[in-house]
Symmetry: C2
Subunit: 520 residues, 2 copies
């Protein structure tokens, strides 16, 4: 473990497993105890007053430094990540680029004032009936943030992933609870962050990495009174458990949990008629990407019964049957996938369409495709459950009205997708408001896997996709989860923080009397 | 009650009390039943898809219309509010101006794009290794919002107060649970809102007003699955109860509760030396304003022991002794005030300095001033409890170090105030970071009562001042509590909502590739 500047070993220990061969990997990693949680949280709280007051340039250079130091780890990082996750090297090379690009995007966003968002309402001493005081607002970090690494993106949603990047950009120290499936990868990335902390001359408590396998560890971290916010990507049960702990604290705190989504794909009639076969093949490409282990995996496909949907089903089934089995992230995820698929197979309302090639290796995910009727789908909430992995359910509707009914019955989602042609716009217009109220991102004629890291991205959505639809865990808007506003009234200029000083020494864009002003 | 377009009467009933004479006021008002909650929430949910898609101009004209219709109620409104609250007419005339000004500020903020905040990341088809899709983000309302009227501002924090104005501005229908202390005022304002709903041609469910006296009513409203967010101003116990209900729902929702604050005032040595007497008199003016019934009432004053603090204490005590007793809002609040003051009087570590003039009328609040030593204050959490009313506690510190220790021991606050001169800046610099982490607004050389409604205002702060320090319930930033982002990926232009259409038909300012662009 990396607690501030200290390397910490302890017993008991645990080891990662190479899921492709089912063998444990050296070395062993420590199980964090309550005392370790305590120490990491204490250091984070001590670091907060100093770190939150770093200038945009210092904080941005720190984020850039993390990116550079992750790159400097070279092939060793992606090779370890591949062994610990079963994910292929090219995928991890791409994920590393996304991770470092994300850190640099936040660095530039901080430089542009995205962490301060200052507002000035100048004094109006002559206003009647009452003068107006001089009011200046800026944002600061909420305090130390606990980040839970996810298993499915050992780089981009883990130790230096989106939650860490946005919390650090906001000026919040971070205590990461590393995912136990990739402790070696976590340690390498954690050391890169720590080296960047040293290089930037920041207090050691800005970053700590705790390792361990127990739910108690995560619970103790969220319960610690110095932790002020939580970023989590994982299962619905895990997210709900953390939400309960956070709400029961003497000082309740928000949990930003990204949990569960089946990412419905609507095949509208004209598009389906025009290219049912091609859509079927492309769909399976998205479904089986990364063994289906994406939060945005298309787990539900909705179409209107007829020959065009039959062509889609035939093409998709053929593609599934040819899909090679790929290693899943952990034996636990593999077992849960098997259970989820078996439940669908055993459901009287569901027909099994196709299974992928049975794999030789350990923990291999054979893709699975099912079909059901809309009436059965609407009657059985079990069919809306996320099966994490390359399994998907096609829902056959009698007509457009029933397609709308299925949309109305959906829980909150990260994404909703429409495949449409010009002739489908009328039906799409009926679907759009239903999807807007149920999803964080709506796509046309694409596939939901693949999440751009940019300013306009939303990786969030209504419950249970996330714990709070007002946030996103990807893109620059993610920083707002970890910021709070402070107003300064009539403070002497030399006591004001730089972002709201009269002379605007940082050159930030500011809202003056409600009007945007550039910093120049 | 006003449920959508219907006037609803029911039994049992309750009546308001004129607190200045302790007599019930005609007429009687209905106690809302679960069926009434159900109907108001259903109408709100039906109205949401239509109301959230109104153009900025339609929504702004609606908010302006509410303001105009409140003004059109004339003196009858402030007279009824005065009878129901015991607050004097001039104060209520001012509060009405603040309420209508607030509605118009939000109207103009919506016109300026403050409810949409669009972001565009244009497609990059030639980017390597992967093209970028066309991404467009806008915000929509989170859904129907439950608003709890507060007792102490029967206009500005009640039926058409800041929570209602910001929720309506965000595109959310509102179901108000009116405060039972001013049901007549609530009904008049509710009718004004309803008339504005009709005039704007909006669905009836955009606004409903439920009345009643029970905790069960509020609980049922927050538990209703169609309610997606909550705005509350009131007691710590009340806010915590709603937070528990909201967190226990199958779909948990945020509660924006503004609860409890004692608003510490720090008297720094040079300022105290220069004008201890004047500060003492001015302090009592702020303390007794509105019978001390402000969320921002200065309930704690911290100074360093010595002759200058003694002068402050003498001047403040003299002012308190001359302060006339004023009617409190309700018999319940009056009784709680008496209990709080008695607890301080009975505390062995506390000395009673002065009591205001004993009032003749019912429910009159006699101001109360106490003093204690910092060591006693730090040792007894009971001394940090809010006493709602014109009671304040002076904390005498041995030195500057102990003043900092007192600051470190404070819970979250809405405000923190510094009285300082040039010679105090060094000590102020030590205090500032402690106060930033504990308060939503920091003032210099003023008094915390009086909250400007503007862009840079923050009326919020860390727990228990509010349930979530990321929000404010006053000022244009308040709208963000009720908005969520949605991303559109590669949608055909004619399916995109106006705020993110390529031609920018609404002329909104938008963030394009992270750079602010005016709508012109």
């Amino acid at each position: 473990m990396l607690i501030g500047s200290q390397d910490v070993t302890a017993s008991p220990v645990f080891q990662a497993v190479d899921p492709s061969v089912g063998k444990t990997l050296e070395p062993a990693f420590a199980e964090a105890s309550p005392a370790h949680v305590e120490r990491a949280a204490k250091l984070a709280a001590e670091a907060f007053p100093i770190y939150r007051e770093t200038s945009p340039e210092v904080r941005a250079a720190f984020l850039d430094g993390i990116a550079a130091k992750i790159e400097a780890l070279g092939d060793e990082l992606v090779e370890r990540a591949s062994r610990e996750s079963g994910l292929p090297l090219p995928r991890l090379v791409g994920e590393r680029a996304r991770t470092t690009g994300q850190l640099r995007l936040f660095a530039n966003w901080v430089r542009a004032g995205g962490a301060d968002e200052p507002r000035l309402d100048p004094a109006l001493p002559d206003r009647k009936p009452m003068p107006r005081a001089d009011l200046r607002l800026r944002h600061i970090g909420v305090g130390p943030v606990a980040v839970f690494g996810a298993s499915n993106f050992p780089l981009a949603f883990s130790v230096a992933g989106g939650d860490t990047a946005s919390a650090l950009a906001a000026g919040c120290p971070v205590v990461v609870k590393g995912h136990p499936a990739h402790p070696g990868t976590s340690e390498m990335v954690g050391r890169a962050i720590r080296a960047a902390v040293v290089e930037a001359g920041l207090p050691e408590g800005v970053f700590s990495l705790l390792t361990g396998t127990t739910n108690e560890l995560g619970g103790a971290l969220v319960a610690d009174p110095r932790i002020m916010s939580v970023g989590f990507t994982g299962s619905r049960a895990g997210g709900l458990a953390l939400m309960r702990i956070a709400a029961a604290r003497p000082v309740p705190i928000p949990v930003h949990a990204e949990m569960s989504s089946i990412n419905p794909v609507f095949l509208l009639p004209a598009a389906l008629e025009a290219r049912g076969d091609a859509l079927g093949a492309a769909f399976v490409g998205s479904l089986t990407l990364g063994a289906g282990q994406f939060c945005t995996n298309p787990g539900l496909v909705i179409g209107i019964a007829g020959p065009a949907l039959d062509r889609f089903i035939a093409a998709a089934s053929a593609a599934v049957e040819k899909a090679p089995a790929t290693t899943m992230l952990t034996p636990g995820i593999h077992a849960a996938y098997g259970k989820g698929v078996a439940e669908l197979e055993g459901n009287a309302g569901v027909t099994s369409l196709a299974r992928g090639i049975v794999g030789e290796g350990a923990n291999a995910c054979g893709a699975a495709l099912f079909v059901t009727d809309a009436s059965a789908f609407l009657a059985d909430p079990a069919l809306s459950k996320e099966v994490f992995g390359a399994s998907s359910l096609i829902v056959r509707c009698a007509d457009a009205a029933q397609m709308l009914e299925v949309a109305r019955g959906l829980e909150g989602q990260l994404t909703a997708t429409l495949h449409l042609d010009a002739g489908d716009h009328s039906l799409a217009r009926d679907l759009m408001p239903l999807l807007e109220e149920r999803a964080g991102r709506i796509l046309a004629n694409g596939w939901p896997t693949g999440v751009e890291v940019s300013h306009a991205m939303v990786h969030g959505g209504p419950f249970p996709a996330t714990s709070d639809p007002r946030g996103t865990s990807v893109g620059t808007l993610a920083i707002q989860r970890f910021l709070r506003p402070i107003c300064y009234q009539d403070l002497p200029d030399d006591l004001l923080p730089d972002p709201v000083k009269q002379a605007n020494p940082l050159g930030l864009p500011r809202l003056v009397d409600g009007r945007p002003m550039t910093g120049a």
